[in-house]
Amino acid sequence: MALEDMRPPIESGCPDGFQYMHPGMRKNYGQWKFHEHPRPGVLRHVAHSGDEIWTVKAGTQRILDVYSLRKLTEIGDKFGDGYVRFTIRSNIEYMVSDEAKVQPLIDALGEAGFIVGGTANSVAMISHTQGWLHCDIPGTDASGVVKAMMDELIDEFTNCNMPNRVHLTTSCCQINCGGQGDIAINVQHTKPPKINHDLVANVCERPTVVARCPVAAIRPAMVNGKPSLEVDEKKCICCGACFPPCPPMMINDAEHSKLAIWVGGNHSNARGKPTFQKLVAAGIPNNPPRWPEATAIVKRILKEYKAGAKDWERINDWIERIGWPRFFEVTGLPFTKYHIDNWRGSRNSLNASTHIRF
């Protein structure tokens, strides 16, 4: 197409959401009084005006084909008020002003194979990334891991009877786009990158790659008469940060890219300040199509949390109360030298006291 025929974009940015909002929510914007959780997957919000909004939440496969998307909108038109939203964890929420619509909505969603739940003290839908389906640097899949795990955790999603909510996340490389979670299942590479020296000079901007390394383990080098890069393998922490700017530094490995599990990430300010997740298990095989070893550890941690935590304790609150030695004891997970941090600020994670539980 000739340049003059190209259509200039309308730079409208983030659209006005009020046009897509349920009229009851528009009317009572900022005027809500309280909410209740009458049953799993359902919320009842009451405004100062006396108006009510009932919400039915359902889990989906996140990557929707248009048939599934149209099924969701059809349910919204037929049984709801035609207004929905998506949560940060990609659940769909139907908002209706009449309680009488709640049960038919739940039935229709169930019949179509969507899973009503995910509210309050549930194991929420796993927040995840793109993985093998679309990412250029994935160490594993994302949608498949999540599907396999949610099949196993579905009762915790639909029953909402954990001590407090549990947010799960997965990340398919160590950049950790999945974010912090009460339990995070993340790729952990265990070997330095394998470098294809024939390609580096043509594909990679070498100073950029050198600068990208968190531990300064990469330096320019001539290899076989070609300008390339070399890695000090003693220094290398196998993070894979060099791979995105330089794909010939292949970090993904069918056998040595493992999974690791981290716990205690909590974004809320409730009770304590927000917390980062901590390493608890690693060396877990990246085992498609159902990743049973990773799922087994997640279920083990959830079982102990459910049994041991007090009401309203998130996983980080629970571990803070019982202590890390007890966590490793009750979960049966090995404690290794890799659990002791050596990154910047690591002294803050050491026990400089006689506070020891016997």
Partner: protein, 418 residues
């Protein structure tokens, strides 16, 4: 479909079990979609994904694709095994900015589905981790046509690369009694001021705005955004003592002692003998715990505003960082208040653009230069709310002490006078 169906023995396993299966969805597109372009693309995509499952490796590489007039907003994907799976060898994603709070009418979702079916794979995610609608899978040509069509009815691309990224907000004041802010207005004022920086990546690295209406921070703003705006209040929490009594009647005194008063991080909530609650509001840190437990009895106060934290990010490159309080409290009611908010956003982005190293996030820049240098750069005065504790190390040169102390007393006097 004329093509041979790629066998998918490993992916087929993901059709089993009760959770909705994305593989079944892809197969519906392959087996039921009447249009050859789409059903062959789904077949090809399934083939490549199965190949990834078998070899445990990804086969996409990036590239440079954008729409006319923009430099970003598309995640280009070219297959490294395109010879074996040619119909999905170009499989780009368009990142489209959702409304704040992710609200949609079903009619609008259907309209978007129609457009996407015309030009793309028919696969879509609400939403990616940055917050965009992800329209997954189209050719270079398809990106332009699809964008042109949806741009006409109100949708714009989000950020990708070193730029201001698509922003996110929680459900907010539209449905939540705990919201202390107008998340819609905050998100749109901020991100729509910087549309040029969204569409034309020219910053050292990404820059994210996220908005949560209260300190529960459902949007993960503190840990995931460079500029987190969190709703809060500074007067007294509202207590409905009749609802407190009703709560105790329903749940018992032990429950309220175990789950409300003893969980308060600053011991500022007391249960009285007459089954009422007293709150030492001056010592309350607005953590939200008691409000989360007693949703009918306790609500935020009326003098509402926001706290702003700067510099949160994930692992790359120096490790995870939470945002740091830069503005402890700011009212957001008048047009002037919003102007101040946007001004602060501009100051921070300008300083970031000029001072961050390539591929360095705002939080990492602050770590490198120190918070005080950052504050001076963006014109914000120091405040004890910015720290967990004062300095522990005596290794510091402090010959400007008297002037700095004088500034503090002047600011205190100004505050007292206003």
């Amino acid at each position: 479909m004329d093509k041979k169906i790629h066998p998918t023995p490993m992916l087929d396993v993901l059709e089993e079990g009760p959770w909705p299966s994305f593989i079944s969805g892809f197969k519906r597109m392959r087996d039921q979609h009447p249009e050859k372009r789409i059903n062959e693309m789904a077949n090809s995509l399934l083939g490549q994904l199965e190949h990834s499952y078998e070899t445990r490796k990804g086969y996409w590489k990036g590239g440079t694709v954008s729409v006319f007039g923009y430099g970003g907003g598309i995640i280009p994907r070219f297959s490294e095994v395109g010879n074996a799976f040619p119909e999905s060898k170009e499989f780009h994603t368009l990142r489209v900015q959702p409304p704040a709070g992710n609200y949609y009418s079903t009619a609008m979702l259907n309209q978007l589905a129609d457009s996407w079916e015309k030009y793309g794979s028919g696969m879509v995610t609400f939403h990616g981790q940055t917050g965009n609608i992800m329209f997954i899978g189209t050719t270079t040509e398809g990106t332009q046509h699809f964008f042109d069509e949806i741009n006409e009815y109100g949708w714009d691309l989000g950020g990708a690369g070193p730029c201001v990224r698509t922003a996110m907000s929680c459900v907010g004041a539209a449905r939540c009694e705990q919201s202390c802010a107008n998340e819609h207005a905050i998100q749109r004022h901020l991100v729509n001021t910087f549309t040029d920086d969204v569409h034309r990546p020219a910053l050292p690295y990404k820059f994210k705005f996220k908005v949560s209406g209260c300190p529960n921070d459902c949007q993960n703003a503190i840990e995931r955004s460079d500029f987190a705006v969190i709703g809060t209040w500074r007067d007294d929490m509202v207590i409905d003592q009749a609802e407190v009594k009703a709560f105790i009647e329903a749940k018992g005194r032990d429950y309220i002692i175990d789950n409300v008063t003893s969980r308060c991080p600053t011991n500022c909530i007391t249960l009285n003998d007459d089954d009422t609650l007293t709150v030492d509001n001056h010592n309350c840190v607005r953590c939200m715990h008691c409000l989360n437990v007693m949703t009918k009895a306790l609500t935020p106060g009326d003098d509402r505003g926001v706290t702003i934290l700067i510099g949160g990010k994930r692992t790359l490159k120096i490790g995870d960082l939470m945002g740091t309080v830069i503005v402890p409290f700011m009212k957001l009611e008048t047009a002037e208040d919003y102007e101040k908010l946007v001004e602060l956003g501009s100051e921070v982005i300008d300083f970031f653009a000029e001072n961050a190293l390539e591929h360095e996030r705002t939080g990492e820049m602050i770590e490198r230069i120190g918070l005080v240098n950052f504050l001076e750069g963006v014109g914000v005065e120091v405040d004890p709310n910015m720290i967990s504790s004062p300095r522990q190390s005596s290794y510091v040169r402090m010959d400007g002490w008297d002037e700095e102390a004088e500034k503090w007393f002047e600011r205190q006097a100004e505050k007292a006078a206003s």
